[in-house]
């Protein structure tokens, strides 16, 4: 394939004496083939044009996770990203550091906030009463979804909840938590689910699915979060607004088919919480945005009741399963 000249618009960052970050954009021109990786281009620029350009890298093979950075709007591994895929119509590729973590220099960020969240979920097997020594083939069905994670922090960098809350543990930590909850050898599965049901854990994910899109290893963290929530509710951790909201749906669908939005708030955050939201209710009422307390019944609503009853009597396992990995 023919070479083409690309413009790398790179954010140069410097921490000044008073701890503030000074940012500017610097352009570098480089001829490359469309399938050359962004990392190879950065290496060329650093080697031949500007030795002061600073970024992390190591394996060049999407295994170590060091070279995660924001490339043309999204966090990606520079070693896994072809230039043509991220160049705009003018051949410009924007490169900047990961977000939601403090900048140290150029593309290098302090990854401690990310790792501290991961440490919070105790990323190791614990001994306890729930340890099962019988590890069958089906044990991998769920565990294998998330073991591909390389802790590059890309999902945390693009997480829309982490952007507004540094308390939220984030997608990678929760995917890791799911891996331990699903592992038969883990001794404290229930205790994990109890802790994950607390504030800023699994129920604070806003389900934007950006992590599913961003993850360079196809871990699909949000899918793991959805499954964690299901397991938490099955264990009876249903006190917070998140689970209460989730549980409100199936009752309504069986009874009328439609969601009763009028009582949804009270069922999610309780009477006291609802009173606290009275100002909001008045604000919404000004424009007639208060749902009817008498939801409409859909035709054939008895079918929904039948479906629900059949499934309660004969539960179906329809969870997605990881692809089986045969030993080599």
């Amino acid at each position: 394939m023919a070479e083409k000249t690309y413009t790398f618009r790179v954010q140069r960052n410097k921490v000044t004496g008073d701890g503030k970050v000074e940012s500017r954009w610097q352009d570098y021109q480089l001829a490359a083939e469309p399938t050359t990786t962004v990392l190879i281009c950065l290496e060329q620029i650093k080697g031949h044009q500007d030795g002061t350009l600073t970024y992390r890298m190591s394996c060049r093979s999407a295994i170590c996770g060091s070279c995660a950075m924001k490339i043309s709007g999204r966090t990606r591994l520079a070693c896994k990203t072809h230039v043509e895929k991220v160049a705009d119509a003018n051949g410009v590729i924007r490169v900047s550091p990961m977000t939601n973590q403090p900048i140290l220099k150029d593309m290098v960020v302090d990854i401690r906030p990310f790792y501290n969240h991961v440490l919070k979920i105790k990323p190791y097997l614990q001994e306890g009463s729930e340890t099962d020594t019988n590890v069958g083939r089906s044990s991998y069905d769920q565990v294998n979804h998330v073991t591909q994670c390389i802790m590059c922090g890309s999902c945390y960098s693009d997480c829309t909840m982490a952007e507004v809350s540094d308390k939220f543990v984030g997608p990678a930590a929760l995917a890791k938590a799911f891996r331990f909850v699903s592992d038969p050898r883990e001794g404290k599965k229930t205790a994990r689910l109890r802790e994950l049901s607390e504030e800023n854990q699994m129920w604070s994910c806003c389900r934007c699915a950006q992590c599913v899109e961003t993850c360079p290893k196809d871990v699909k963290p949000m899918e793991a979060i959805v499954k964690l929530r299901a397991r938490g509710m099955q264990k009876g951790y249903v006190d917070g607004p998140g689970p209460k909201h989730a549980l409100a749906f199936h009752g309504d669908i069986q009874k009328t088919g439609d969601l009763n939005e009028f009582t949804l708030m009270q069922r999610t955050i309780g009477i006291v919480g609802t009173l606290g939201e009275l100002g909001m209710a008045l604000h919404l009422m000004k424009k007639g945005k208060i749902p009817s307390p008498f939801p409409h019944k859909v035709e054939g609503v008895e079918e929904l009741g039948n479906i629900y009853r059949i499934l309660e009597e004969n539960p179906l396992d329809v969870e997605t399963k990881a692809k089986e990995v045969a030993p080599e």
């Binding site: 909840m161 604070s204 998140g242 909201h245």
Partner: protein, 294 residues
């Protein structure tokens, strides 16, 4: 091409955001799109049902999809979360025959027509930008936006996970940008356009939700946006009805009118403001529209 759909407006479109539904009907009528009602369709259950009762959520989705399939039509919706929920189930039914068989077994026992996994789930925005004859669309624009700077807000569940959708999705989706251009407006590029409106954490994390609303709107305003549009009734609720509460959280005035894409489309077609429900919006878009003669 026949533009006949089974219309699935979603719970918000039926009640709190009914202006979006009314606007959808109005623009569909003008563009030769027929939106047939789905009298048997229930709430899709959103991700909430998938979390609490996974098999039930798939069966509920299959029952909805089956109603449209029996009528020989694809589904068209105006709610991103309904779009994602139904697309997600449909994606699995089309790829996992064993799951479809199990769910159909339940439907049959419950007296519901089994689903054959033959239909598509579409968003009205995709229909307008990809299926309607663009010459016809242009001919209907009697009040062009005269370069009005409009921020497209796509909404997560219109985009991700991109693999499940039967149209351009993820970073590739450009429907709103194209529509704004067609209407004579100027699409604003800003970092929030594919981020989260916060709707689904409105009650569990109210401060964070309001911060998201403020961030997205201020970001768009910072890039010069005079108006914001979204294809989703839930994003509309967050970005418009919750904009003033969001101002209180961040201590900054925002004042960026936001409306459903069908409302803006209808306005530039010169349709009646009452039919488009413009008076139901907390941050009123009428002054800025008026300034451009719309």
């Amino acid at each position: 091409m026949s533009l006949e759909f089974s219309f699935y407006p979603g719970c918000a479109g039926k009640q709190v955001q009914k202006e979006a539904k009314s606007a959808a009907h109005a623009v569909a009528r003008e563009l030769g799109i027929t939106l047939h009602p789905m009298p048997r369709a229930s709430c899709c259950g959103a991700v909430s049902l998938r979390e609490s009762k996974l098999a039930f959520s798939l069966a509920v989705a299959a029952r909805i999809l089956s109603e449209a399939e029996a009528a020989g039509r694809n589904i068209c919706t105006i709610c991103n979360t309904c779009l994602q929920t139904l697309s997600h189930a449909n994606y699995r039914f089309k790829r996992e025959p064993d799951v479809l068989e199990k769910i159909n077994g339940v439907l049959k026992k419950a007296g519901v027509r089994p689903y054959g996994a033959t239909i598509k789930v579409q968003h009205l925005l995709w229909v307008v930008t990809d299926q309607v004859d663009q010459k016809l669309l242009k001919s209907k624009i009697t009040r062009p936006l005269k370069g009005l700077k409009v921020a497209p807000f796509y909404g997560c569940h219109n985009l991700r996970p991109s693999e499940i959708y039967e149209s351009k999705a993820g970073d590739e989706a450009d429907h709103l940008d194209r529509l704004i251009t067609t209407l004579g407006g100027s699409p604003v590029s800003y970092s929030g356009s594919r981020k989260c409106c916060g709707f689904h954490v409105m009650l569990s994390d109210p401060t964070e939700m309001r911060s998201m609303v403020a961030k997205n709107c201020l970001d768009a305003k910072g890039e010069g946006a005079e108006l914001m549009i979204s294809p989703c009734t839930l994003c509309d609720m967050s970005l418009n009805a919750y904009q003033m509460p969001a101002e209180k959280v961040v201590g900054k005035k925002i004042d960026l009118p936001e409306m459903n894409f069908a409302q803006l489309l209808g306005a530039s077609m010169g349709l009646d403001a009452a039919e488009l429900g413009l008076e139901r919006l907390h941050v009123d878009p009428r002054p800025v529209l008026k300034s451009k003669g719309v």
